[in-house]
Symmetry: C2
């Protein structure tokens, strides 16, 4: 008849909590999860509360005390030391002894006779002793005997209120009427490199030296030391599978291909195989394994593209026609985004009648590459496949391989981008690529770092991609590339470039964000040392990122004020403020800008008027700054930014 009458403690507004607990938050191994909640009940009793946590699968909870810090708001925290999935919940109960002591002392202080209250206390302690075991039980037994011997009311009140007594009593709480929070919330714990990493996207077939011929994985191997020397950790490859022949695209996306044109690697599948095969032009699976090992030796990880679509020549077309969309005449449909047509690509129907076998095959493909040393999957266009598929696939994979991460290549409407992250994607592309002005950058980064997105959406700031050469890079010259490199590398702990960026390659198809003569459709040979490259800058940025833990997090970003609209100022510091950096960027690639900048020294662990030395890792200069307001001058042709390490005493 009564709906849980003993559920007397309100536990509300538990945070972090995404979508009423429908989605997990994300953390990295070694992180602390800070949990807050409103916890209160009727009347004036004191409460105790604990934060419960466990790894999924564990039957018992660990717990850690929560502390009241403000206006019925409590806080506790736990460390996620293992990969995988954790859960947390809250339990609270009336602090019987503490509440009794609180009232006892007030009454005694008011001069009242508290003999009856002391008798109540004795019963509470006796009950607690009966619940206790081991040494605590003995201690409580002794305490009771000693207390009775005190005689005098005043002495008994003082003894009852001793902090050590209260602590001992609280250590054996009566939780039979405890209230547990309604929801159990989840945390997905990923490896640290899900948060922090420098990505280099390379087209394997363009890493050679002979024009008109595909490079191989052996050629790619030869580039590893140079890429690693620039400081990149993750080497991301667009699809490496056999490329279809039917309706193969020619250069610059020409619908007619010429003899010798290699086709677009996103048209996956040929008689040589499908998603679990290697393009014969690049080598064999053994070559791939060797390439992964060479990367590993250099401390780099390989990220593969997971592009779930087929060329008309893919083995699936013959073996599993039931997985594809059909026309009324029974033929398979190619991809369209009317009026655009992609005759070289057949999309898969993830909700076809045979969806179970399709989903399981996708899982098999991912596991195949995992067995070949791949731990990172960059997923192409996930927003055109059903959300339940991703939720299932990622959870399935991470159950056996919690170190595997999936990176969502969705550039679409904001709520779908967020939904993919909530569904399980560990990293996500962002709108950073098109955020150039101070208000644009400030607003977007504030959303990423100050809203609930910080709990589940890990941005990866790519400066460019094979599909996106932003107009800012097309028109801003070398300074534009330097500006975007500094922003990407210091605003976000994960960032990436697509090869050619380091060479300031900026030739586009007219009026479009597409590269001219894109290597998506042809073999290319690059001069990786061509004049004007910015490899030194990238090396410095990546070294600084590695040396400074403050740059390895997102949630510590703080924007500061600058008088000039083109000057962007922000800082990052570790929570202990031992490591702190200030970044000042002239966002205008054409003109020199001078400005006063107003950096709040508190965020750097400094007092209001304290002088401090800043060391600019980009120019090698040192200046003494003082207080809130300092002066900068940035000539984009010389140095478009200061990357300032705060040096102390």
């Amino acid at each position: 008849m009564f709906d849980d009458p003993l559920r007397t403690i309100a536990i509300e507004n538990v945070e972090p909590q995404i979508g009423c607990g429908a989605f997990p938050i994300k953390r990295e191994v070694g992180d602390t999860v800070v949990v807050e909640a409103d916890i209160f009940k009727d009347g004036h009793d004191l409460l105790c509360a604990v934060l419960l946590y466990r790894k999924v699968g564990d039957t018992t909870w660990s717990e850690t005390p929560m502390t009241l810090f403000d206006n019925d708001r409590w806080r506790g925290s736990f460390v996620v030391s293992d990969l995988g999935r954790y859960q947390y919940a809250i339990e609270a109960w009336r602090d019987e002894y503490g509440s009794w002591v609180q009232d006892l002392v007030k009454k005694h202080d008011a001069g009242e006779d508290v003999e009856s209250d002391l008798l109540e206390g004795e019963r509470i302690v006796a009950r607690t002793r009966d619940r206790a075991t081991g040494p605590v039980q003995t201690d409580l037994e002794r305490w009771l005997a000693g207390w009775a011997a005190l005689g005098d009311q005043h002495r008994r009140v003082v003894a009852a209120a001793e902090p050590s007594t209260v602590a001992m009593m609280r250590s054996v709480p009566d939780r039979s009427r405890a209230t547990r929070s309604e929801v159990v919330l989840d945390v997905v714990v990923d490896p640290v490199w899900a948060r922090f990493g420098a990505w280099y996207e390379m087209f394997p077939r363009s890493q050679g030296t002979v024009p008109g011929r595909s490079a191989t994985f052996r050629d790619c191997e030869r580039r590893i030391p140079e890429i690693r020397d620039m400081g990149f950790d993750i080497l991301y490859l667009p699809p490496i599978h056999p490329i279809g022949i039917t309706h193969r695209k020619g250069r610059n996306n020409n619908p007619i291909c010429s003899p010798g044109d290699p086709g677009c690697p996103y048209a996956i599948g040929s008689p040589a195989g499908g998603h679990d095969a290697i393009d014969p032009d690049l080598g064999t699976i053994e070559d791939f394994d060797r390439f992964v090992n060479v990367c590993a030796v250099h401390g780099m990880r390989v990220a593969l593209d997971f592009a779930v679509q087929c060329s008309p020549d893919h083995p699936y077309v013959r073996e599993h026609p039931e997985w594809f969309f059909k026309r009324p005449d029974g033929t398979i449909k190619y991809a369209e985004n009317p009026p655009k047509k992609y005759q070289d690509i057949y999309p898969l129907d993830f909700l076809c009648d045979a969806y179970e076998s399709l989903w399981l095959e996708m899982k098999r493909v991912v596991e195949f590459w995992i067995s070949h040393g791949v731990r990172i999957f960059r997923v192409d266009n996930p927003h055109t496949k059903p959300l339940p598929f991703w939720k299932w696939l990622i959870a399935e994979i991470k159950r056996s391989h919690p170190d595997v991460i999936f990176f969502a290549e969705a550039f679409t409407r904001p709520k779908m981008m967020k939904a993919l992250a909530k569904a399980g994607f560990c990293q996500s592309y962002t709108y950073f690529t098109w955020r150039n002005t101070k208000p644009e950058i400030t607003e977007y980064l504030t959303e990423l770092t100050q809203t609930e997105m910080r709990e589940y959406y890990r941005p990866n700031f790519f400066t460019n991609t094979p599909d996106i050469l932003p107009f800012f890079l097309q028109t801003g010259g070398r300074p534009a590339f330097r500006i975007r490199a500094v922003l990407a590398a210091t605003l976000s702990p994960s960032y990436g470039i697509y090869n050619g960026f380091e060479l300031c390659e900026n030739r586009a198809l007219p009026g479009r964000e597409e590269y001219a003569d894109s290597e998506k459709y042809e073999y290319k040979v690059w001069d990786w040392d061509r004049p004007g490259h910015i490899k030194d800058l990238l090396r410095t940025l990546n070294r600084t990122r590695n040396a400074h833990p403050a740059l390895q997090r997102l949630d510590n970003l703080v924007f500061h004020r600058a008088d000039h609209d083109d000057i962007l100022v922000y800082s990052k510091a570790t929570s202990d403020r031992r490591d702190a950096l200030v970044v000042v960027v002239n966002l205008n690639p054409h003109d020199t800008r001078e400005s006063l900048v107003h950096v709040n020294p508190w965020h750097l662990g400094l007092g209001d008027d304290e002088p401090f030395v800043v060391y600019d890792v980009l120019s090698g200069n040192r200046w003494t700054w003082r207080g809130w307001t300092n002066y900068v001058r940035l000539d984009p042709l010389v140095e478009p930014a200061h990357l300032l390490v705060v040096e102390r005493g």
Copy 2:
């Protein structure tokens, strides 16, 4: 194996939604519930969405279409025309035909051959015809035949894209793969007077003319016409039950009472009866019934105090000692808030072993008074009883009596005040009583009207209570009473005064907010026409409230800017802007203030530079205002406020 693979449509951030659906929102009969949600899926298909709603207990849902208005955000609304509890949910599905037409037109416009697409469309229409019944089926049959006869592709495309065709097709949707929102959300629909009412709290025993003797309900009856003439709708009575004798309090809360002292009515229960009895000094239950009827004849409702506590002489003490807190020696504990003692009051233990019988008895008491015509219960100190008790009691009562409302007298920490409203209280006391300055009033009203509180927390602004004579009223003289009356009556649709306010009674115990010689502890005789009363102002305020629907809502409050810190300006308008008022108050009861006031004319339904006439119902003056900025001068000794009705053309 697969967790709901067809649940492809995301339905997120449904609003309004309180505590992830744990608590209902509140509305009044005739209100519109506007519901918004993020609704989207993968790919580029068009969607359809409906808002589902029903009365609790109905097995079928009504539905109304939702409309996409911005960035994957959809909106729909329904009217709650009956008292009781409603539910709402959302269902969305892929618009198969609309999506097909959209792509068809794009391809046709691009000059492509769409014969295969038209064949697909024919199949969609044929399937729809098969699903349809009655005339729609016939219409679709005819449409198909006619369409085939058109021959020409262009003509078939145009016919397929006809809005009437699209509408017909959408009227027979395939919802077999529809996604339903995870949560079903609740609305409690209360009578309109849960939102809008003017309350008058009167101490029945002080309504007579003979000093030292209790007034009776007959005496109270004689006051009704005068109170009604002031415009009050709800007459609230502190406890009317027999008063205990043991430890009865004397005048001014003296622990020793003198012969003839009537005691405090909150010490409920004597040999004459308990919570279902009438204090013999006031009359009989028949007298009470008659009183309720006389009020009804005058258009007023009676609100009773529900103070769940007992004097030591309450029948429960003898009949149900198991419901009370006990000392170790077995005696019953009186109420304490150490070091304060309330020996005349025994609190009930709502979680005692026999709690079921206690809770049911409380329900019986409430139902007893309902059977005597009471529909409004003002609950004393609900924050000292468990939240689950209130949740249960209010839901139980409202199931059979959906017009009954409970008003929470909690002045405690903000989260508990909110929790009581979420648990079911229909109205709540507020901090208004202590909000005097412009920033205080603006901040508090912004919280009440602009946060999710507006969905579940109905404030009732009492200017004073038997326990609270605010310092502002103690020290501000008659102007202070006039200021607070205007604020209470125009800021909140529900407000109230405790008798004596209209007489500007401001004698307090030194340094405290308690009335001197409070009628809580003695018989009083008032001269209800004593010089300096503000009954005319109250009459004007209540008449204006009744004449102007804009003053009958809370959520339409808009603050405007005034140059002077003591001048508060706000407006209220109906959603069609036909009724609009501007209130200007000098918050300083001592000094005349002049100020420019900057009222945004858009909120009044006026253009930027349009002149308009404002009629001050308090002074009877008319002025022509124009545009954003106008001048006011308010002398608190003459008129501390303007209550301006906007008059048009």
